[in-house]
């Protein structure tokens, strides 16, 4: 290849990199893993903006953003982690009514899930009182919002102390589901978004924990302040809060906020 050809190729590569908009990078809580991909695809089809999500426990994502992870938008499974970023001056909710409060985009639902081939194929609150229940999986109450909700629900039922020796703690809500789906735990308090995945729908059934037993799992979004694509992030937030997408969230196990 001649020298001028090389230069030409290099120039073409450089130009295409400039023209193509960089995909939005989203830090998303684990409970969104079954929900978000089709929504992001629709967003791409509607607006032409590509968005890629990374799924982790909200606490992990918060630490990563605190340390400069290159995300544009953070979709947490609670309000306290995104609030922590706002207070640190690393994120904001500019454009919403109150720019110092995370934007609630959905509410989570806690369910009790068991496998159909287990000793407890029909989960209900009575199961939590059953002494034959040997292992109950929950997500880590310190770092996972659904884990906090699980402990709150068990405390409301005055069962937490008696059940605690039988509780096994998973790092996040997906892992809590794996503990039960692999048959190692008898039942699990997991997110409805996990329970509604094809895999868990096929292997088990769930019971919705009454909402009055735990504080609402409000899921908050914040814009990572150093983003270079604020306009695109706002488009995605508007899309998330649009009636069509909110209705879709309801079908995937989240409660819409609009």
């Amino acid at each position: 290849m001649s020298r001028s050809m090389l230069l030409l190729t290099a120039a073409a590569f450089g130009a295409s990199a400039l023209w193509a908009q960089k995909p939005l990078r989203i830090a998303a809580a684990t409970d969104l893993e079954p929900v978000l991909p089709p929504i992001l695809l629709q967003f791409h089809q509607t607006t032409g903006i590509e968005a890629e999500a990374t799924y982790q426990a909200s606490a992990v994502l918060t630490t990563q953003i605190q340390n400069g992870a290159p995300f544009d938008l953070f979709l947490s499974a609670d309000l306290s982690h995104p609030k922590r970023l706002i207070d640190a001056g690393l994120a904001d909710a500019a454009g919403s009514a109150d720019s110092s409060t995370p934007i609630t985009y959905a509410k989570g639902t806690l369910v009790l899930w068991t496998r159909n081939d287990s000793a407890f194929p029909h989960p209900s609150l009575a199961l939590l009182h059953n002494p034959a229940l040997k292992r109950l999986a929950i997500a880590n109450p310190v770092q996972a919002p659904y884990g906090r909700a699980a402990v709150a629900a068990l405390t409301s039922l005055k069962l937490y102390e008696s059940l605690q020796p039988r509780v096994v703690t998973a790092e996040n809500i997906a892992q809590a589901a794996q503990f039960v789906d692999s048959g190692n735990a008898d039942a699990g308090l997991i997110s409805m978004t996990s329970a509604l995945t094809p895999r868990l729908t096929a292997s088990g059934s769930y019971f919705v924990i009454p909402h009055d037993l735990y504080p609402p799992i409000e899921q908050g979004a914040v814009i990572v302040s150093r983003t270079a694509q604020r306009a695109a992030v706002h488009k995605l937030l508007d899309f998330l809060l649009s009636p069509a997408v909110q209705a879709q969230l309801a079908k995937s196990g989240l409660t819409p906020v609009k």
């Binding site: 992990v60 630490t63 310190v142 096994v168 892992q175 048959g183």
Partner: protein, 222 residues
């Protein structure tokens, strides 16, 4: 400082080291002295735990040891409880996870023993057990020490497998690395720093003591 997590971790690492050496010495002997061509395959399998991400290895063990496999059901019936979420489950997971760290130094050490010495011992009528105990181990003592140290430390620092297989039960499966992770996740960086500092200080002290002893005995040349 959570001393329960520390003692639990030390107990797990000690038991794992003893169990693993009992498995790795015969295995390494077979790999070095054996003639079957299948041994290359066996050595490859013994190295595999290095390839899988630890949480994935932990997930497979969770499924394998759980009540949905015949193997898991047999173990549950034998012990009276499932292996997952128990201390013995962590021992099983750690033995598999650290297997390459015990086998590799031993294979290297045993391979370095002069073949004429081995042949002479065989000619004099030494069986395999005697060969190992009176020739290979004394000559490859440093490799044995290295295998033990690597296994012990690798188990102390083990995280992914314990995370998956343990269920974070204080006193049973909450090891120091899990505790450290929880502290970091909880933004309790001061506590995490203290825990990590104690862990590092203990490790440096123990390692320096072992290496100093090894130097005094002239172990460098063995």
């Amino acid at each position: 400082m959570d001393w329960q997590a520390l003692t639990l971790t030390l107990r797990l690492a000690s038991i794992t080291t003893v169990v693993l050496l009992a498995i790795a010495v015969p295995l390494a002997t077979l790999l070095v002295l054996g003639r079957s061509r299948w041994l290359a395959f066996l050595e490859a399998i013994a190295t595999l735990p290095l390839v899988l991400p630890p949480t994935v290895l932990g997930f497979f063990l969770l499924v394998l040891l759980g009540p949905r496999t015949g193997f898991g059901r047999a173990i549950t019936a034998m012990l009276g409880h499932p292996l997952a979420f128990s201390f013995s489950g962590l021992v099983v997971g750690s033995v598999i996870y650290s297997l390459p760290f015990a086998v590799q130094p031993l294979v290297a050490g045993f391979s370095a023993v002069d073949q004429p010495l081995i042949d002479a011992a065989r000619l004099l009528g030494a069986g395999s057990a005697r060969l190992v105990l009176t020739l290979l181990i004394p000559l490859a003592r440093r490799s044995l020490v290295a295998a033990a140290i690597l296994t012990f430390l690798h188990t102390v620092g083990e995280f992914g497998v314990v995370l998956m297989l343990g269920g974070d039960i204080p006193g049973a499966t909450r090891t120091l690395s899990i505790l450290l992770y929880n502290q970091v996740e909880n933004f309790d960086y001061a506590a995490a720093g203290r825990t990590a500092a104690i862990l590092l200080a203990l490790s440096i002290a123990a390692l320096a003591a072992i290496y100093a002893g090894s130097r005094r005995r002239g172990g460098r040349h063995a």
